[in-house]
């Protein structure tokens, strides 16, 4: 029996990266509310240890058929990325399936703005402790990567040092922390520079070495540079999210300073980058939605249940506000019923091999005898395998001998596709198998993309109908809903297929049939509706 390193699960990152993909969703991430979700999509596919081994090596032949099934249904799943489960169905699924399975995932969907707001509200709690202006606490928090505990610990130990270190105050002044306080604080050096913008005539900036009448900016430290240089400097620093300091010393620019210099709300950018690096650091609990341009962040407070998911070969699927579903564990899109290991193995394999394979598939043929891949780089169709010396015809891949002098008889069209190739080598067998599954995978991916496009078209057509024609809102709504429900139902269907426990399967058999029937009926209803619209002349067929 041939071992295959991966199972066929249609997961691609290309799909995620599809630039058009996110457009279908109405991004809700701008909304400020933080919604909590409880994961309900997880269904029971408790694994019979005999069927699935812990590692990612699978003996495909054992359940080749079911593999195929899964590929297909998962593809369906792919086709309906933009769909969501309707509420009633979802609840049923939950009730029926979550028994005896993994714990529900409690997570919230956030955005960087949300997180920043949370941080700000925490700041309010800290204010009485610190008793310094909010702006300064913000600097401290930013410096400590929003780690309150560590900050508090250090704060109690060496408050003054910390303020200097982070650039809240200068070494010379005691705890002069803010603009307001500065005025009251007698400066030790005597010439206290005012924080902010000034206008200087023939100012020579040591950064750009220009001598001109210009606005300048400086902090209390007196390191004064022209505003252009300062802008350039800040612009370059906004992305990494660290506290921005004076160019010559460690005195920090507060958000207010940044906005003063930049002339707009650049500090927001800085805060966003800072939050981003915070998320990066806490990537066990926080995960970006992997979909292109989706700004949602999933925050899982308690990651202890994740281990249970892995153990049972479940995948902790989460859903962001833009309805993108993905696996919290591996960051790929939903990949049930395969677990993360299998998915990773497949993706890795596909990634590694697909480029080569694509080339090989499009440029070469296999020698009919030994299976070696041959590229034809010129000459006639009389081929001689350089490996096994077998002579054959490039067109029909048959033995050359019978071709004799009647050249190219084989160019006659035949429908007979029976190929009697025998793989003698194990290697080519494995490759064949992989190629086969890759093809299947590829085909499904293509059709998923096409279907998604179709869905898009229908959506826009419906909108156009509503706007331009005399189709009532109700009718238009029916069409939209139909598509949506159809998508959801297909997703449900694929979820039902995840069940591996025999008892569960029996229990869900009826539901499966019902659902299939439902999908079919819906499809007919939709088609009938389309037909009616055509018949009544409301719509016209286009290309």
């Amino acid at each position: 029996m041939t071992q295959m390193k991966s199972k066929t699960t249609p997961i691609t990152s290309d799909y995620i990266d599809d630039p058009n993909y996110e457009k279908v969703h109405n991004p809700i991430f701008d909304s400020e509310n933080i919604s909590s979700f409880t994961l309900t999509e997880i269904t029971d596919h408790k694994t019979d240890s005999g069927v699935l081994s812990q590692d990612s090596e699978f003996e495909i032949e054992d359940f080749a058929y079911s593999d195929d099934e899964f590929v297909y249904d998962d593809e369906e799943n792919n086709e309906t990325y933009d769909s969501m489960l309707s509420q009633p169905i979802k609840q049923i699924t939950k009730k029926e399936m979550s028994e005896g399975s993994v714990p529900n995932l409690n997570y919230e969907v956030l955005t960087t703005q949300n997180i920043f707001k949370n941080m700000l509200s925490r700041l309010d709690h800290l204010q009485p402790v610190f008793n310094i202006p909010r702006e300064d606490i913000l600097l401290l928090m930013q410096h400590y990567d929003w780690n309150e505990e560590r900050l508090l610990e250090n704060w109690t130990e060496r408050m003054d040092e910390l303020l200097v270190e982070i650039g809240v105050s200068q070494k010379t002044s005691a705890v002069a922390t803010s603009l307001e306080k500065k005025a009251e604080n007698p400066d030790i050096s005597g010439v206290k520079t005012k924080r902010g913008i000034a206008f200087k005539q023939s100012f020579e900036c040591i950064i750009c070495c220009e001598d001109k009448d210009t606005q300048t900016f400086s902090l209390e430290c007196g390191h004064e540079y022209c505003i252009d240089c300062y802008r350039h400097y800040i612009e370059n620093k906004l992305h990494n999210g660290n506290v921005i300091t004076c160019m010559d010393c460690s005195l920090a620019l507060k958000n207010i300073d940044i906005d003063t210099v930049m002339g707009h709300d650049s500090s927001k950018k800085l805060m966003a980058s800072s939050i981003k690096s915070f998320i990066q650091k806490h990537n066990k609990n926080y995960k970006w939605c992997p979909y292109a341009d989706c700004k949602c962040i999933i925050h899982l407070k308690d990651t202890s249940s994740l281990a249970e998911y892995t153990r049972l070969h479940f995948s902790p699927f989460v859903k962001c506000d833009a309805e993108h579903r993905f696996c919290f564990n591996c960051g790929f899109e939903t990949h049930a019923p395969a677990d993360c290991n299998v998915t990773n193995a497949w993706v890795k394999k596909a990634k590694k091999e697909s480029e080569n394979l694509n080339w090989v598939m499009s440029h070469t043929k296999e020698c009919p005898k030994c299976g070696v891949n041959i590229e034809k780089d010129g000459g006639c169709n009389h081929m001689k395998c350089s490996s096994c010396k077998y002579e054959f015809c490039w067109i029909c891949e048959g033995d050359w001998a019978p071709h004799g002098k009647s050249f190219y008889q084989c160019t006659l069209y035949t429908n007979d596709e029976k190929s009697k190739k025998k793989e003698s080598e194990d290697l080519s067998k494995i490759m064949k198998k992989y190629t086969f599954y890759y093809r299947v995978f590829n085909e499904h991916e293509i059709s998923a993309k096409l279907d998604w496009k179709l869905g898009q078209t229908i959506g826009s057509k419906v909108r156009a109908l509503q706007e331009k024609m005399d189709v009532s809102w109700i009718e238009g709504q029916f069409l939209t809903d139909s598509i949506k429900i159809l998508n959801e139902a297909v997703e449900d269907l694929s979820e039902l297929l995840q069940i591996k426990d025999p008892e569960q399967i029996m229990k869900n058999k009826l539901e499966f049939y019902n659902k299939s029937g439902y999908v079919e009926n819906r499809m007919y209803a939709l088609m009938e509706c389309g037909r009616d619209l055509l018949c009544k002349g409301i719509c016209k067929p286009t290309d």
Binding site: I206, I207, C208, C209, E210, H223, Y225, C229, H232, Y233, N236, N240, M247, D248
Partner: protein, 217 residues
């Protein structure tokens, strides 16, 4: 625009301060963004009396982005790649600030030669050497200074190829011992360098066996 002006000014500043023994020159007149700088090895270090030439590339965004610097002169130092001359120094990376000039950067390099940071190495082999056997490291670093940076013995050494073993601070006895067992000198040095072995006590059979194993591969 400001970049050209600033570079010219920095050149002038270097010229105005001959005491620092720092030079800064354009590689070609037509390209003001490619320079060569040089400075003297800090006294009291193995780099003393050497003149170290640094290749400087000034990026478009200069002075908001750091210049790209690497040693043209071969340097035996934990924070400098002994092969490419690449430098591991924070001010040339994220700690860069627009107030730093090419001159002050060169002075920082000088300071780096004075006080290596073996815990943040660019060249792991050299850093190992530095941490394990400082005396031997110093000898090698001084040899490199002599050979490549025109140190005091440069004249005495002209023409003669340095011994490979000395070049990497590997003890001659050790090389000879393996040579007597019939191995090629190049191969011995290659293996010893790979394993980071500079010298061995004769009764350390485990290590000797490991070296031989490698040699036989």
């Amino acid at each position: 625009m400001s970049r050209a002006k600033r570079i010219m000014k920095e050149m002038q500043a270097v010229k105005d301060d001959p005491e620092a023994h720092i030079t800064l020159e354009f590689v070609s007149e037509s390209d003001i963004h490619h320079l060569k700088g040089s400075f003297l090895g800090p006294p009291g270090t193995p780099y003393e009396n050497g003149t170290f030439i640094v290749d400087i590339e000034v990026p478009m965004e200069y002075p908001f982005k750091p210049p790209k610097m690497k040693f043209d002169t071969k340097v035996y130092h934990p924070n400098v790649s002994s092969v490419t001359g690449a430098i591991c120094l924070d001010i040339l990376k994220n700690a860069w600030s627009p107030v730093i000039t090419l001159k002050s950067a060169l002075i920082s390099l000088q300071a780096l030669l004075q006080s290596p940071e073996p815990n943040d190495p660019q060249d792991a082999e050299v850093a190992q050497h530095y941490l394990k056997d400082r005396e031997s490291f110093n000898k090698t670093a001084a040899l490199w200074t002599q050979l490549y940076a025109g140190g005091d013995a440069a004249a005495a050494n002209n023409g003669a190829d340095p011994d490979e073993a000395d070049l990497y601070g590997i003890s001659q006895e050790l090389v000879q011992e393996f040579e007597s067992q019939g191995f090629q000198k190049d191969r011995i040095i290659e293996v010893l360098r790979r394993l980071g072995i500079k010298s061995l006590s004769p009764d350390d059979n485990d290590t000797v066996n490991r070296v031989i194993e490698e040699l036989l591969e």
